[in-house]
Symmetry: none
Subunit: 195 residues, 4 copies
DNA sequence: TATGAATGAGCCTTCATTCAT
DNA sequence: TATGAATGAAGGCTCATTCAT
């Protein structure tokens, strides 16, 4: 990795949690200067403008989350365990995997009415997330873990939506009481489809 | 209502959709000047600072949503119809009841890491929303509509979370395909508990 | 004149010589802050952006020059005296009537390739200037001062062009030697047409 | 020419029309980077700072104009033809010989109040230009083309000034109507001195 | 109550320039 | 000689807020 690429990467790494925590509009380039200890001009050497840095940071946050999630799921062998692992991965939104919580939730909500580019990025990741879930279930059906008539697409949507809603509830509550409820009920639904 | 109260109310009405659409940080006092056609000074006569106006507008948005929801639910008599009506009320997040979509989602996500006051307001409304749902179910159990062992608190949480998640998914998608899936599945769950 | 109009006028008065001296691109809003002792924000209360302030200052400079010129010409009665007075008015470009010299020359040259709006403003004033000259001559012909076959439009153009060229020559020379030559020769041409 | 000299020359060639078109202050080093496709550092290898590059580019522009003019005059044999050729050379300022128009006019006006070095360069070229004209006339007098009492220095000044003024008028007008008037009248003056 | 002029900190961005490689 | 990363001052402009009228 060249010096420039390294610095660019470094800036993204430092900026990503800021945007995910404070929001895009509320994070100033000067906040990123402070976090990186780089000069204002240097930031603009690597990113033509704030929008491009934002786009990179949004991507980075979502990639980080995905990669940590996939890494965690790797420890499980059965489809059911993977689904349970997925649920447990998000068990405490007040102690989020990445600073600021779920980037799809944060950037999706901030961008939906005002930033088409980011909205599309989030939508793509939302779809990938549901695809990941439905693929796990499909696999579980194929190898005889789950009932063959389980509507995996519907369940992927339901589970994903419930988790995102649970993140919201828990974060404004400042505790994960309700996320535990969601976790428990989703596990029950999964168990009911298990052979 | 005195002239002053009237103007104050008017400012809130004009400001509320702006905050709910663009977000708090991205909405400037000048945007509100423009929307109200009032002078800078006039805004500050009625609201000491932006934070206070924001708090009022957040309240207003949530009250508006609640009042429209309750109004809509009033047309239904049975608990089941009320739950179905609740679900149908949120069927299309791309055509939201109030401009910008669900204020609990919007302000909850923007405030969770940065604005304690707003976070608390949202949390209270989130709790009230779940309480409204569990009260409907409890009533349905009491009058013999639903199975007596239905865990109404859990379901209220699940349903609320799933709807909020569905709003996110639909708004970034630009269509309500997935919200229809959520609507259908929640109705099925309700039907399963109906006697 | 309201307070706002007064301040606006004051800003233009202070900004006009700066633009005419340093040029538009080389004059920063901060230069105008310093000259007016006003805050940055205050400047933008009265002018939406630099372009609008520039346009106002360009107009002001040209109006100032015109008004001083007309005022000076008023002391003369005959057409010939007016033409001679016009020439003498511009006799020393190193001691210009308004700071920075002729605004048509300054802003015309700076804008011709880059600023359509200013270019048009200058062109209008250039045309007015030539019209003023040809009107004086025409009047002189009508009252029998000048030969009736004098091509007044051509001479107005020639005289105007020669003066502008003379301003350039004298200002880069730092003395008005060549402007005196121009003055003398134009007077000779006028004398030749005088009856 | 060494590699270094070649690159230096190349930079000047690319920068010269930019400065002559946009002006010195409005042309950034980054504009020149873009035009040359050279790196920031490379520019500073060849030119210590912007001022030095500007000085070279100003010289280059004036040399280019002079050389093209002389080249054009070479096709004529008599003094009168040379003067007519000179006038025709500048007949259309909206289609200038070099991009941006007359560099004496452009840089003279931009520098007169702010950049002593450039002002002197322009003044020297202005003097040379008038010398060129008066030398042609003097030669014409010597070989019996023109009346011996023609004040060649005065006419050189008048003609030069009129052309520069004509350039200004035509460029802000966007057409050469008035330059044609100037051309015609100067030719008449020359004809009147021709034997 | 209402106005809008005034403020100055802070916004994003560009500038000319330096310097290690 | 050439690169491009790094700098920080300065650019135009917007912000929330104050205050005399």
């Amino acid at each position: 990795m060249s010096k420039g690429e390294e610095t660019r990467r470094f800036i993204i790494e430092q900026a990503a949690p800021l945007f995910n925590t404070k929001g895009i509009a509320a994070t100033a380039m000067s906040d990123i200067m402070e976090a990186t200890k780089l000069s204002k001009g240097s930031l603009y050497v690597h990113f033509e403008n704030k929008d491009i840095l934002v786009a990179s940071a949004v991507d980075y946050n979502m990639e980080q989350l995905t990669s940590k999630l996939l890494n965690s799921l790797n420890q499980f062998n059965t489809a059911k365990d993977k689904l349970y692992g997925y649920l447990d991965f998000f068990i405490d939104p007040t102690q989020p995997i990445i600073n600021g919580g779920c980037p799809m939730l944060n950037f999706g909500v901030e961008s939906d009415d005002t930033n088409e580019l980011i909205k599309i990025k989030v939508n793509n990741m939302v779809n990938k997330s549901q695809k990941l879930l439905s693929d796990i279930i499909k696999h579980g059906i194929d190898n005889g873990e789950f009932k063959p008539d389980w509507d995996y697409d519907d369940f992927a949507t339901i589970m994903f939506a419930m988790l995102e809603g649970g993140i919201l509830i828990s974060r404004v509550a400042g505790n994960n009481t309700k996320m535990k409820v969601i976790n428990k009920n989703l596990k029950k639904m999964i168990a009911e489809q298990t052979l």
